[in-house]
């Protein structure tokens, strides 16, 4: 459901998600994601990228996690990529697409 990849050159930490990220799934994922994140992402200069290419559903709890991590990382250090149109629309309706830098 989630895999992690770190690119030292670009100091980019990518979490690639797949499937339905409903409330139950997010409960399980939440800790895994936090454990695997770089320490103090904002100060270390790492960029955090959530790749949602194969995600077909997101719950509000997943959006909350995104917001929490984006705030930790700081401005311009967090982005969401490869979201499918329906997922992108979900972020837009939440009003958080700009904060989360969704594309």
């Amino acid at each position: 459901m989630v895999t992690f990849n770190y690119s030292p050159e670009g100091k980019e930490f990518t979490a690639t998600f797949a499937g339905r990220l409903d409330t139950m799934a997010v409960q399980k994922l939440s800790e895994i994601v936090q454990v695997n994140l770089p320490e103090s992402p904002g100060t270390s200069g790492d960029k955090i990228i959530f790749d949602l290419k194969d995600v077909e559903y997101i719950s509000s709890s997943f959006i909350r996690i995104c917001v929490s991590i984006a705030k930790q990382a700081g401005t311009g250090k967090f982005s969401i990529v490869h979201s499918q149109p329906l997922i992108k629309k979900t972020f837009k309706i939440s009003g958080l697409d700009e904060l989360l830098n969704v594309s």
């Binding site: 979201s83 149109p85 329906l86 992108k88 629309k89 837009k92 697409d97 594309s103």
Partner: protein, 477 residues
Amino acid sequence: MAVNLVEKANDIIDRAQLAAAEFQQYNQEQTDCIVESVFRAGFQNRIKLARMAHEETGMGIWEHKVIKNVLATQLVYESIRYEKTVGVISSDPRTGITEIAQPLGPIFAVVPVTNPTSTTMFKILICLKSRNPIIISTHRGASKSCAETVRICYEAALEAGAPEDCIQVISSGSRDFTHMIMAHEKIALILATGGTGLVKAAYSSGNPAIGVGPGNVPVYIDESADIPFAVKSIISSKTFDNGTICASEQAIVVMESMEQQVKEEFQKQHCYFLTPEEIIKVGNIAVVAETMSMSPFIVGQPVSVIATKAGIIVPDGTKILMAKLDGIGKEYPLSYEVLAPILAFYSAHDYHTAMNICLDLNYLGGLGHTACIYSNDESRIMKFAGLLNAGRVLVNTPTSQGGVGYFYNHLPPSLTLGCGTGGKNITTENITAKNLINIQRVCRRMPNELWFGHDQAEFYDESRTTDEIIHNYYKNH
């Protein structure tokens, strides 16, 4: 001065209120007679008023304004002619409910400079059909042509027996005065068509409002589309009255695999793709950087004028300036709504990206308005429709003529296009006379047998399960 303005506002609204009081006594036949008389007068003057609007505003193409005037009179009249808007409009013996149409009262109607005479006639017709007096507020750039339109319509209305002061006009000289009337307690409804500020003012007034603001219409040309047909259709729409209709196309989105073919077709049909430097020059004059709103100096202007203002040279006979953009938002001024023959153009490497671009454009000032897809794939059409927030999703249709209804579909002909809550409207409908009546419902006693046949004590019995109660409730023997 302020006192004078208050007195002036009170005088106008008091007159309208008296007209409303008288008007509510009219029956359907009397009302229809007035509407027909106004339609005939407006239609008779369609060419004169189109020329006046064009000369006064310097916007658009007068011949196209004639078509708009035809839409606003003949076609609107045809669509509301047989509609019941007075007294009992429906009665259902099965439910015992009878619906009665009641007028709203004085309506304050704001008319945009882009479609001044047509919107004036349209709003007058739908207000009179619903027995509401109307106070028209004109844009200062179109006050003469609107005043003449009102004069023609008002005389025709009076000749047919309409109440005195059922149509009044004020020139929008003072914003304070407009706001004063908007907020006046005796105004029943504001019917505002115009820019974002105006629509917001209407909704902030404290009075009910139907305010229709800007659009930013994305057009997706799907792989299954007939490209020459799509391009021809888009050009016929975007050049209609030099793009002044708010439902006009703003951006074309295609997939990379089709980009070359679509570009060549636009070029073949006399559209010019701007260079990156020219895109910057046109963007600078087309969109005001501080507000990211379109410049009034280019609205409704032909390509030749826009090119001169931008300091660029384009081939003679160019119909539309095409701007291939890599992004959306403040760094790309031409990604915003521009009511002129300028089109943004996007190429996406896959279908999902194309849809995401359409979504971004939709959310960049065009929520709830109009979107368009050229496709022969029903599933793609429905996916597109489900994704975008648009009151009108037009299929294989020029959006200027498609959005306003009648010509290419069965939407009611209208020059006020509801944008739903995305555009802060209460409806996504094309506004027409039926939106301007209060419907009373006379509800006759018809006891519901399910309710009264059920042992109500069950609802207070916590030992009963939901399934048991529901089973007993619907048991019919």
